[in-house]
Structures are given as C-alpha cells and as structure tokens.
C-alpha cells in the first residue's frame, strides 16, 4: 500500500510539474505520451508552427530519450512489423528528431537541423515511423539525404 501511495504521489508530482511547464510555454502537451508528442509535432509542422513543432519534439526527447536509447542498444536489426510497436519510445523519439530537423530547416537553422537529423541517422537508426497510409518508414533513411541536402545548401548557392 505504501508503495502504491508513493507511486501516486510521485506520479502526481510529475504531472503537476509537467502541467506547470505546459502553462509556461503555452503549449498543450496532452497526456505527455511519446506518441502524443510525436503526433502533435507532426501537426504543428503541417500547420507551419515550426517553433511549436520543435518544442513538442524537445518534450518528447526530454521524457523518453533515455528509454529510446536503451531500446536502440537492445537491437541488432530493424524490428519486424509484428514487434515494431514494442519499441515505442525508440520509434517516437527517433521520429521526433526527424521532425525537429524538418522544423529547424524551415526556420533556416541549418546547423541545428543537421544535428537533429544526425541523431536519428547515426544513433537511433532502428527507429521506425508509421505512415497512416499503411506502412512503416525509416526516419534514419529519410534523414540521410536531408543532411546531404543541407550540407549542399551551405556549400553551394542553390
């Protein structure tokens, strides 16, 4: 019983803390689930709210990156579709780094965008993202040309 109360107290404190932060930056983080934050960052990207998109991704990585890295470290290959959802933190955090790169690109913060893309390409490369059209895709694979494009843009006048 004591353990349950301790857990509830901790959970309550954490929620309160998170709620206070939500008020601070004016964003609605919903239930703070990694998938919620990932979806909200996609939505913000589509609405042209690039700073908000970055904030949602930062919240996601702040809360779940440690777990995501543990999942990445446990893998030796990209998970198959029947178990991919077991790696929820890896998938959401990896996707958030990709979205952050996209949003920072729109904000013309190219060096920061490259840094975000490189995290998913070089460190969270087993992450997979679900496309509502019906398939998984690899944020790592998608980040690879994004980095090259940004580096090309900084070297040549496109």
């Amino acid at each position: 019983m004591k353990q349950i109360l301790t857990f509830l107290a901790l959970f309550s404190a954490m929620s309160l803390s998170l709620a206070e932060e939500a008020v601070d930056d004016g964003l609605d983080y919903g239930d703070y689930a990694s998938v919620t934050l990932q979806v909200k960052s996609w939505d913000a990207l589509g609405e042209g709210k690039y700073e908000d998109a970055v904030k949602y991704t930062e919240k996601c990585t702040e809360l779940y990156e440690e777990e995501a890295r543990k999942m990445q470290a446990s893998l030796s290959a990209k998970p198959s579709s029947d178990v991919v959802n077991e790696y929820w933190a890896l998938n959401d955090v990896g996707t958030c780094y990709f979205i952050r790169g996209e949003a920072l690109t729109k904000l013309r913060k190219y060096s920061e965008a490259v840094a975000a893309f490189k995290v998913v390409k070089d460190e969270l490369y087993y992450a997979q993202a679900w496309d509502p059209k019906g398939w998984y895709w690899s944020p790592s694979d998608a980040a690879y040309p994004k980095i090259a494009v940004l580096e090309a843009k900084t070297k040549s006048d496109f």
């Binding site: 996609w42 939505d43 990207l45 589509g46 609405e47 042209g48 709210k49 996209e102 690109t105 059209k133 895709w137 694979d141 998608a142 690879y144 040309p145 090259a148 494009v149 940004l150 090309a152 843009k153 040549s156 006048d157 496109f158």
Partner: protein
C-alpha cells in the same frame, strides 16, 4: 568479362542496314549497347564499346517535350532522355522527330514502351489483349531498333503498382515474354523495366519470373538516395538505374490539417535533386548505371509546380540549373532567379471568406536581370491521380488579386467559396529562367 545482353555483331548490323531495314538507306548505323559484368561483380554500360554513364531526364509526354528543352539538356551536360510511350518517339521537337533531334544533339533515348496496367482496366488473362500488346511491341522494335539514338528499351513503367502480388506474378511473366521478343528482334539494346519503388515481394517476383531483365529501373522520391543500398538488401545484385527522382513525393511530405501537401521551396528542391543524383552516383559505383531526373518538362501533379522543371511557357526552373551543376560540375552562365522568401499571413491557416490579406516575395537574380512577377490564386487540386496519371489543373481566381499584380507584393481577397487554396508567385528573369513557389491556405465559414 561476361556479356549479359548483347553481342558485338557489326557484320549483322551492317547487313541489316544494307538490306534497308527500318532506319533506311543513308541513316547512320544503329548503336550497340550492352551491360557488361566485370570480374569483380560490378557492371558497366557500354555504348558503341565506350563506357556510358547515363545523365538523363524523363521527358516527353503531352505536347513535345512537355515544355522542356532538348537543346538545354545537352547544353547542361545531360546525355540521355527517357520516354514512357512509343508514340513519343514520333513527336516533333524543333521540327524533327524526337529520336532524330536527340541524335543531332548527342542525346541517347531509352525508348519507353507502355506496358498496360491492371488498374487501368487491362486484363492479363485476356489473350486477345495480350497478343495485341505483343504485336505492338514487335512493330515498335522493328521500327526503331536501328536508330542510332536508341540506348535501351524501357519496357513498362510502374505496371506492378497498386495491385496485389498475385497479379504481379502474371505481370512479371508477361514482361519476361515481352523482353524475349525484344531480344529476339534487337540483340543490340538492353531491356529495362521500371518499377514504382522496390520492396521484397517485387524483387522476389522479378528474380523468379523475369530472367530476361537486363536493367532494373526504380522510380523513387524521398527514399531515392537509399535505393541502391536497399536493392542489395532485397537480393537484387544486378545493375539498376534511378528512373524517376527529384524531390520528395507529394504523398511523402508534411501536409496541412486539410491534407494539402506542403511543397518544398525552390532552393530546397534544387538542392535535393542535386544531392540525390550525387548520392546515387557516388554510393553505388558499379551497380548504378546512371539516372533520369523527373521531370524535364511541365506537369500538373498535385500542383502545377511540384515535379516539373519548366514552366508551361518554357522557362527553366532552378532544378534545371541544379542538374546542370550535377552533370557538368559548373553552374550555367545565366541562372534561374532565386526565391529568398515567400510569405502571407494566411499561409497554413483557415480564414473567413472574403478575408483581405497580402503576400510578398523576395526574389533575387544573380546576374542582375530585372524580374517580372505574376501571382495566381488557385483552388487546391481535387483531381489527384495515382501513379502519375494525368490530372486536371484546378481553377484560378484572378479576380481575388486586388493590387500589385506584376510586383513582388500583392493585396488580395480570399475567395468566397469555402475550400482549400494556394497562392502562387512566379518571378521571370526575361532570359529564359523563372522561379515559382506557393503557400496553402483554407477558407471556411
């Protein structure tokens, strides 16, 4: 050295010309093209015994080159074009049939033969339809096999797409038969078949049922840079070409809440096109035989500007310059203008009918040419095709623009009819170059 497709057979070639087979007396001898497998397992495309790296563009379709310029392709360092249907070879370019004009300019042609799609109603169990398709192919090969501009036969484009695998098996078998027809009639040009992206079931089907295939063509957009690597993982160790690439597909990018794909800005599109070409070339030496950028012309697909590298009026867009830089290593003397920014307060937002707003563009011309601007407010496309099928252009609302047409800034009133729209700006340099971009907005009561 293992000759995969064709054999050097000059005697046969000369005897064919002398006999007056298509190509006719007085024409230059036909080309001899082969894919050669080296002892280390890599591949080289040989054209008339010389190594040939394809610096190509998909072109043709619609009228002529669809607004593209064959001469500019050659001047930009390109050396090949790819067509989709055999009838395109008869289209007049600069007053001459496409193949003849291409040959004059030193451009080779992968001649596309349109293999019918199930999704368009073709029935692969209908013997009469199958026979008719085979007969058309025979006619085409006999007619064009000796043309010196011919590089390869492009047997089909995305005919396997959007259909279950059980039907794909039938298609692979038929393609194998069709490729056999080509090889019987024309041993001097390899057969390439183009698929819509690669996955395990497609590659398995091709490896099992399509042994006559010489070159695998892959159309890919966002994942184009990883096609070469992925093909190896899927079991395809043969030669391939990227047969459509450029910018991320409209189905692969972020969308507005009303599902309008957000078109990348022109500089990003140019850099992306350049980068994909370079990555494919540099990461897949000995396996990639070259590539065909999409699309050397004008095409309405999602928007009027997503894939096309030219305006309908013929001006080149920045992606043409990017490919010139990729192919030749130098930028053209006179480049298309550059768009630094495009902004409007209604972008990505839902606004009331009749809302007054403005839009402004910041464009520069590197050579100092004076820029002329046109603005256009159009409905979002409601005629979204599949797999590049033709789409109708959405209606334009010129009456919405109240002030500033022709200048870098306009004032406008959003249309009264609720729905999705885009505001487009085009800047022309008066030297054959232009830049175009758009931003989406939504009108709701």
């Amino acid at each position: 050295m293992y000759r995969i497709t064709v054999f050097s057979c000059m005697a046969l070639l000369l005897s064919s010309c002398a006999a007056g087979v298509p190509g006719g007396p007085g024409t230059a001898p036909g080309s001899r093209v082969e894919v050669v497998r080296q002892s280390d397992g890599t591949f080289t495309l040989l054209r008339n015994d010389e190594s040939y790296w394809v610096k190509g563009a998909g072109s043709g379709g619609g009228q002529g080159l669809g607004g593209g310029s064959l001469q500019l392709l050659a001047a930009s360092g390109g050396n090949s074009i790819r067509t989709w249907g055999i009838e395109q070879l008869e289209q007049l370019v600069d007053g001459k049939p496409l193949l003849d004009r291409a040959h004059e300019l030193g451009i080779s042609v992968t001649a596309g033969f349109w293999v019918q799609h199930v999704r368009h109603g073709f029935d692969y169990s209908d013997t009469a339809s199958i026979d008719e398709q085979r007969a058309r192919l025979r006619d085409a090969v006999l007619k064009y096999r000796d043309h010196p501009a011919l590089l390869a036969w492009g047997l089909g484009n995305e005919m396997e797409a959007f259909k279950p695998n059980v039907e794909s098996e039938v298609i692979w078998r038929e393609l194998n038969h069709l490729a056999g027809i080509v090889k019987d009639l024309d041993p001097h040009h390899p057969v390439m078949t183009v698929i819509a992206g690669a996955d395990s079931s497609k590659i398995a089907g091709i490896l099992t049922h399509y042994p006559n295939l010489d070159i695998l063509g892959v159309n890919a957009y966002s994942n184009a840079p990883t096609v070469g690597r992925n093909l190896v993982g899927l079991g395809w160790n043969g030669p391939y070409m990227l047969t459509e690439f450029g910018v991320g597909g409209a189905w692969e990018v972020a969308s507005t809440p009303w599902n309008a794909p957000i078109e990348p800005d022109p500089s990003t599109k140019a850099a992306e096109t350049y980068t994909v070409y370079k990555i494919d070339r540099d990461d897949n030496v000995g396996r990639s035989l070259g590539s065909y950028v999409f699309f050397w012309g004008h095409k309405q697909e999602t928007t009027a500007t997503w894939y096309g590298m030219f305006l309908p009026s013929g001006e080149k867009l920045p992606r043409v310059d990017a490919m010139a830089y990729a192919w030749s290593g130098v930028w053209p003397d006179n480049r298309a203008p550059k768009l630094e920014s495009l902004a409007t307060p209604v972008a990505f937002r839902s606004v009331k009918p009749g809302t007054r707003s403005y839009a402004e563009a910041d464009c520069v011309d590197r050579e100092g040419d004076e820029l002329r601007y046109t603005w256009d407010i159009r409905a979002e496309s409601s005629d979204r095709g599949t797999g590049g099928d033709p789409e109708a252009a959405p209606p334009s609302y010129p009456e919405s623009i109240k002030q500033g047409q022709g200048s870098p800034r306009i004032e406008f009133v959003v249309p009264n009819r609720p729905g999705a729209y885009r505001v487009f700006v085009t800047a022309y340099d008066g030297q054959g170059g232009a830049v175009v971009h758009n931003l989406p907005f939504f009108v709701a009561d």
